[in-house]
Symmetry: C2
Subunit: 418 residues, 2 copies
């Protein structure tokens, strides 16, 4: 360990243990050199990182002070504010092992070295080289063949849908597979569309063929072909949100609708689930017509995704890391789902426990006759798919649960349900 990291840890521990109180002044750099018998540079580096991480605050000329610890540990703070559940089983978090932070850091560092490039705004469609890399990637992976000019990047599916809504002013109605995609439905409603569910006659049909239900059902090839044919016949636009397609490894490979279709399909994908929830980079492939409309209206749109992260992701994909990353999380998450399902079967032998087709979700059906608040009281955040009569159906996404805590969570679920 480097000397300054040692000093960093020493002082951090003193703050967290309360040995150094909130608001207390810590030794000046000069004084710390003497106390800890280290160089000025060592102290400066340690103090810098303590500042950057929020443990201490520099005050002009008067020195360094211990910050409010609650603020410093804003992570816990954040969690406490958002919800009181200790264990989130709804899939909102990722596994720490799932992502190589050190590798990503190097790509970010490299991107930040491209200073001249960062001095200007990103192109409205997103960085050109990233769009090239995405075009190559989806061609290999999903047989989606497109020029980078038809690819639009944004910070998530929401801003992509907002751009789409703006381009689709000649359409009136949209249909979603069910009511679970509230964000998407909300956006179309805001833009004045009639929003239906399972309405084949709508002008726009929204589907996520690799995640058709909350428990990850996959649309079979036969239905894909039917949908493509129907939409062509009826001149409807299909939005294919290829959410979680990366996880489909133990079902037969299913071609994308885009690859099956004849030009009336908008293809959407995201990197958040593959990399980190904190990295917001999604993309869509427009139809030829919509791409032309975009170009006409492009002055209306501004890029939302971080330019630094776009540059980093481009090189990360080019170097082949995205492929190994997908293999890694696939293996990790499907093993986790299986392990947790096995635990649940042991704890709740009378419940019906199944793993969803894309191996990310567990469906749990059990007898139940308590108030739903019991889960929260047990420190669990769960998704209740159905609660009718004395039966409950839960959809559980175990991806974010550490192995070490699976046992206690399974027991907590048992106690909540029985």
């Amino acid at each position: 360990m480097k000397k300054y990291t040692q000093l960093y840890n020493t002082i951090k521990d003193m703050i967290l243990s309360g040995e150094l109180a909130v608001g207390e002044k810590i030794p000046s750099v000069r004084k710390a050199c003497r106390i800890y018998n280290v160089s000025m540079t060592t102290v400066q580096n340690a103090y810098f990182d303590l500042c950057a991480d929020g443990y201490i605050i520099a005050q002009d000329k008067s020195g360094y002070f211990v910050s409010d610890i609650a603020k410093a540990q804003s992570n816990d703070n954040y969690r406490a504010e958002e919800n009181n559940a200790q264990y989130d089983l709804t899939g909102g978090t990722a596994d720490e092992e799932s992502f190589d932070f050190t590798l990503w850091q190097r790509y970010i560092k490299s991107a930040l070295r491209q200073t001249e490039r960062l001095l200007s705004y990103s192109q409205s469609k997103g960085e050109y080289d990233l769009r090239c890399a995405i075009a190559q990637y989806i061609k290999e992976k999903r047989n989606v063949i497109t020029s980078p000019d038809r690819i639009i990047i944004a910070a998530g599916v929401q801003p992509l849908l907002q751009i789409l809504c703006s381009l689709l002013s000649n359409k009136n109605s949209v249909s979603f597979p069910d009511k679970s995609f509230i964000q998407g439905m909300g956006i179309f409603k805001d833009y004045g569309f009639d929003v239906h569910t399972r309405d084949k006659d709508a002008d726009i049909i929204y589907v996520s063929p690799s995640h058709m239900t909350r428990w990850g059902d996959v649309m079979p090839i036969k239905r894909r072909l039917e949908l493509v044919a129907y939409s062509q016949e009826h001149n409807s636009l299909v939005i294919e949100d290829d959410y979680e397609n990366e996880f489909l490894y133990n079902v037969k490979p299913t071609p994308s609708l885009f690859a099956l279709g004849k030009g009336n399909i908008v293809y959407m994908g995201s990197f958040s689930a593959m990399l980190l929830p904190g990295i917001r980079i999604s993309f869509m492939v427009l139809t030829k017509d919509l791409a032309e409309k975009y170009d006409e209206k492009s002055y209306l749109f501004a890029q939302t995704a971080s330019k630094t992260e776009q540059i980093a992701l481009c090189n990360y994909i080019r170097d082949g890391h995205i492929k190994s990353q997908i293999r890694k999380i696939r293996r990790l998450y499907s093993a986790k789902t299986k392990a947790f399902a096995d635990l649940l079967k042991k704890e709740l032998p009378d419940a019906k426990i199944e793993i969803g087709e894309n191996t990310l979700q567990i469906i749990l059906l059990s007898k139940f006759n308590k108030d739903l608040s019991v889960f929260e009281e047990m420190g669990l955040k769960v998704f209740v798919e159905k609660y009718e009569g004395d039966e409950i159906v839960l959809v559980i996404s175990p991806a974010g649960i550490p192995y070490s805590e699976m046992d206690i969570i399974a027991k907590k679920l048992k106690m909540s349900i029985l």
Copy 2:
């Protein structure tokens, strides 16, 4: 310089000079150790960075190859694609000296160390600690007093306006000061609003009091008070986009409308102009009513700003860097504007040349009777405010021009106009 950086530079130079051709295989790691008499680690580190920066490409098992140089220098690539102008005088770029990249890198690195935090999605309003830091900052700077709960963060003004439009479904009309804010007008139109200019009777009045015209006029205090009183009387909502307020240092301090108002003002600000165009973090302060509406509909909104950059910015603000950064760019940009205006006066003695109130823009009025394409032919991207009869008015933002190139650009402008 570290050994691997030396090796990195050596190979990079060979690639850029053409000594190593596109597609050519470069020595294996083992071979490079012998050639350059360095350790494996040194070569591996150098090759990693060369990959990350796009100069070479790793191909599974067969080794490393020189990439397409055009791709490696994607910055130039990007510029070439976007427009052929060599010099952008429309304010789309920042000055390289304006931003301390090394400092920002340290904050980003520190943010990337908060691995647990990055494993979950950002709160829809944005990171709580950043909202606290912003609340503190706008209180000190603009007397905007608010709780962090009323602050919404997003990746730019556009996504903020989209959220606002979604919350304002009970309003029908909006008024902009002039037709120059096309993006904002476009969004309101997309959401079905009647969009006017300078219509006092609209339900919503959009203003940017620190940048009222393209050349940066500032709304005087008297008109601010009138607008606040009028909007209260008529129950209209004011959206105050406090764009470029940071640059107002040589005009008397003008209070924000938010501080003058009585609760019917939405305040908006952005960090892109202060830091880097590539960093997309903006925020708005909702009125009490709108904040309640947001909370009811919050499940509809997803955060667009990068979580890493939010964490970094929070600590950057807390440590006081934002204040010194503003002082720095203020000094830098107003000196530049003045220097370039002086040069133009020398080159075009018959033109009327003025500096806008916020010292970022130059207004140039001159006789002119050529085709407007002359600017592009001369490699200049300029904003033409007016061209009527034989007179032209240009608005010039010199912020992104390096000092070393001011002379040639002024001469090019002269040749274009005369």
